[in-house]
Symmetry: C2
Subunit: 355 residues, 2 copies
């Protein structure tokens, strides 16, 4: 209930009587409900979960602190949200403007009389999620550890003749054998020139001797996600392959050193870009992202995010170099911000050569 | 280009100069781009794809009929959408109001001068997707066949002592061995009293002799999805288990007979509900849903969907009975509407007893 209490304090600060929560991750964070459809209505003295018959038993089991308000076939979820806002006498009600679609907002406003005012709010719950509680850090550490051990096992099996897709399947299977629910996202295995696609999924391309291979992988369990990237070379790295990998590693280490309380997200990002200033093909994406109930969440290590880093944040650091028609390098760690500096949660072999 | 031409005709009918497409499945359907972030701007004589550096190579490779408009770090995607609307001189521009969030709409309108009018449109591309092209039917048939063969293999291995989760993993692994990209959705395996949760995911619950087990599974490949449900009994079914399964099967067959051109979605739904009128715990969810690039898409077999069925639609039929604290039964097929009536695309053993 610490989470609900913190949210209620934010509502008071913003002079809101209540909040309609529609993002599945925020619903899970606040209530424990893990299903894909349902909404919360939260006020100073009310905590309600609204859902249809498919989810009633699950809501009662997973969200015992919330009062279940059932919707029915003739009584859709949005009509029920409007009804609860009226029944609870809420006058200024926040909604999650980054999650609610234009249509859902129209549907909700048209089901309400003019009196309650709907107020667009952004990231109220996400702001709570940005600093992880100790139990959340343990869950992140556990999935990062599973993913790292899976990589180390599968790494030994990578050899010319395997398809990118085979490597991805082996990884995902090993995540499960080690106790994860499955992959946190579609595993990226991008060999040779395909490595220049920062989001190239695993394809049917056959891995060849000499290929540099970007492997970007994560496991998920209990709703939490990991995210790690390694770049390996099948056979003996050429001097240019080794040079590019080392340049990316140095940018990562230089910027990671700034991942401590008091620095800002954009300062970390700037440090990595400075380190790669001489590289024509340095990455155009962000340097990193928070990770937790979502794979990508606040804060973002990017020029436009000025968030001050705080103890308990968990953020990836993933610089890269992508050379069209040649290949790519990306290296990624999950970093926990602690009072004494960065702590790397990910673990996977750093050895470059395989096969 | 047939798809683009059909969409342009719809825009003419609605007196729209252009459309901003933001739904990933609609983007894939129109352009071929399979990535997760990018937008389309489509006008009478323009077809543009907008994306950031991570996706440029992929966009060029996958969406050759579209002109690539690159966004940059200092030039976000929404600013670029606004710029293209202005550059193309569009005055009435549709947006996908079921996909665009409230915030994205605000961001786009505030980046535009007052002159271009943003018009909320719903389901313009989804309406095109509702009738499958022959190539799409073949892709759906292929994933349904993989899923069915996987089920038949795994079915033989189901026995007391396995966890629900083990069955789900075996199924998903077999999908891949048979050539699928992976599961179409989180596989449901719900044994015993957990079967009364219509969306109960596979858990650590150990399967026992006598359990009735609901297995709801699908495979995905090339962007298309399958969806099948079988209910089995571990050991000899009790008379009540057999009776409930048979009641659901009869409701499915009676309603499936109506899945032909000229009938409406709600009429099919009504027929199944009539067949189960005597059952206290008949399903509260919809009877079925279209399936294609999304697992759930139009039309919906529900009291409120009056869509006339047409040749080429592919729709699930999935009645159920859920008895709290006792168990559940759901049976599901994917049905292709043809000129001569329903054709079942799914295939998986109907034998009830296992183990």
């Amino acid at each position: 209930m610490r989470r609900l209490a913190a949210l209620r304090q934010r509502l008071l600060d913003l002079e809101l009587d209540g909040l309609v929560v529609t993002s599945p991750e925020n619903i899970r964070y606040l209530s424990g409900f893990t299903g894909s459809l349902g909404y919360l209505v939260i006020a100073g003295d009310a905590a309600e979960i609204l859902g249809d018959s498919r989810y009633w038993l699950q809501m009662e089991a997973e969200a015992p602190a919330f009062r279940l308000m059932p919707s029915g076939p003739s009584h859709g979820l949005w009509a029920l949200v409007a009804e609860r806002i009226k029944a609870l006498g809420l006058r200024r009600v926040g909604f999650e403007s980054q999650h609610l679609t234009f249509d859902q907002h129209q549907r909700l406003s048209s089901a309400l009389p003019p009196e309650p005012t709907l107020v667009a709010t952004a990231s109220l719950v996400e702001e709570l999620r940005i600093v992880k509680e100790p139990e959340e850090v343990e869950l992140l550490r556990a999935v990062a550890s599973i993913a790292g051990r899976a990589f180390d096992r599968v790494r030994a099996a990578i050899r010319p003749g395997l398809r990118e897709r085979d490597v991805a399947f082996l990884l995902e299977q090993t995540f499960r054998e080690l106790g994860a629910d499955g992959p946190a996202f579609e595993t990226i295995v991008a060999a040779g020139e395909r490595g220049a696609l920062p989001h190239g999924r695993a394809s049917d391309r056959v891995i060849q001797r000499g290929d540099m291979v970007v492997v970007d992988f994560g496991a998920t369990a209990a709703g939490y996600h990991s995210d790690t990237t390694r770049t390996i070379v099948v056979g003996e790295p050429t001097p240019e392959q080794a040079r590019v990998i080392e340049a990316v590693r140095q940018a990562q280490l230089a910027s990671m050193a700034l991942m401590k309380p008091g620095e800002t997200a954009d300062a970390v990002d700037r440090r990595a870009r400075e380190a790669l200033a001489g590289e024509e093909h340095a990455y155009g994406h962000g340097l990193g992202h928070g990770i937790g109930l979502q794979v990508h969440e606040r804060p973002y290590l990017s020029p436009t995010d000025h968030t001050a880093l705080r103890t308990g944040m968990v953020i990836t650091n993933e610089p890269g170099i992508y050379v069209p028609d040649w290949g790519g390098v990306r290296l990624e760690e999950m970093v926990l911000i602690t009072d004494t500096g960065p702590e790397v949660l990910t673990s996977a072999s750093w050895e470059i050569g395989v096969g």
